[in-house]
Symmetry: C2
DNA sequence: ACCTGAACACCGTTCAAGT
DNA sequence: ACCTGAACACCGTTCAAGT
């Protein structure tokens, strides 16, 4: 009975959109962005391509659903009795870490905006912007600037990590930064005077700290404009 | 003589990396991100796939080179006798408009960071951050926050435009925003109270103005922290 | 040195056929 | 209603063969 044996492979779970999305997330996490194909997915779920298409319209819908699951998990717990600034930082770090753990989410958020995932982030941030006392006319700008910054930096960070892993696997982050900083230090002192001077800062910086420092910069600007 | 006739198709120009990159840019602009394939490219250049691979290592190198050309053009003219703030705004708008005109550049900058294109933007911004009087220790954070914001928002904007064009072709921007705002206005008042309240702001906002307002927010934060 | 174009190893998606 | 898996129309890339 091949059918029984195959069903057993996904532990008796019936095929459903949820099962499919979770298998997709696992493939994306383990094998990377290119690791998810309808062939790897049908193999893992021990089924045919048509079965997946019965539950899901196409690959894009699958990616959107997977992104929603990860972002929802990242936003799952809300910090109570925190200042608006602390709460905004918490959301930012939550999204940052989620994208760091699932780099493909960064690609996805950069490509298909204003779906559920992004809306949830916007809502979370926006409430805290209101709590900050920003007048109504400035709330849209403040919230969307923060969201854009968060998604932009986090995605770029993830892309960096993927590129680094691709070109120099098994290289510790520190070694990679040192190598890149060495490259900056060798740049032309005329055309790239600033970048060159930043080589040291690049080598010693911490992505998360830097990310949060940028959030604080925007928060300071929001408070100053208030 | 088929060879002569084919050469004539690209107006006597010999095949070179430059010719190839320019043809790629044209395809990307006219046909969109998916419009560039080695088949459309060989058809346009009236040659074989191997000819292109002789000049270019792979599709990724082609995309990177195309991005560099567009960004270099966007940064071509530097504003003289401008305040640092004005100069930063000018760079930001230049990149924004370039990505708006060539949406595929946004995707590219979000995926393959720290290549020439991004480095050039970083350098331009960084010099003005220095001119702003930011102490050395804060320059890296300030410059990379600005660059991240610029690329993040501009890319998201481009992705939005592409999505809109894809799903609702021939719909004016205003109609699209109105439809989206109507969607926001219908959101659940509990879970999405903030987003719902922003429906009006979404409908009436201008992407460029909003983008610049975010830049000003960060600039205000940088000046406040100085 | 540079170009040709068929061939290879993949994709996402469809669909007649099964249960 | 749900699943199977072969088939279709594509991809990027390679490579023996030409000039």
């Amino acid at each position: 009975m091949p059918t029984r044996a195959r069903r057993a492979d996904r532990r008796g779970e019936a095929l459903s959109k949820e099962t499919i999305v979770h298998a997709a997330i696992e493939l994306l996490d383990v094998e990377g962005e290119d690791g998810l194909t309808f062939r790897t997915l049908t193999a893992r779920l021990a089924t045919g391509a048509g079965a997946i298409y019965w539950h899901v319209a196409n690959k894009d819908e699958l990616l959107v659903a997977a992104t929603d699951v990860v972002v929802a998990a990242a936003l799952a717990h809300e910090a109570r009795d925190a200042t608006p600034q602390e709460a905004i930082r918490a959301v930012a770090i939550g999204v940052f870490d989620a994208i760091d753990a699932h780099p493909w989410v960064g690609t996805q958020l950069a490509r298909a905006p204003w779906r559920t995932a992004m809306l949830d982030i916007f809502e979370r941030i926006g409430r805290r912007v209101q709590a900050l006392g920003v007048p109504h006319a400035g709330q849209f700008t403040a919230a969307s600037s923060l969201v854009s910054y968060i998604l932009g930096v986090a995605s770029q960070n993830a892309a960096n990590a993927v590129t680094a892993r691709l070109h120099l696997p098994d290289t510790p982050r520190g070694d990679f930064l040192a190598a890149m900083a060495a490259g900056w230090a060798k740049l032309d002192g005329g055309a790239y005077a600033f970048t060159r001077a930043m080589a040291g800062a690049l080598r010693d910086h911490d992505d998360r700290t830097e990310f949060l420092a940028g959030i604080d910069l925007i928060l300071a600007g929001i408070v100053a404009a208030r």
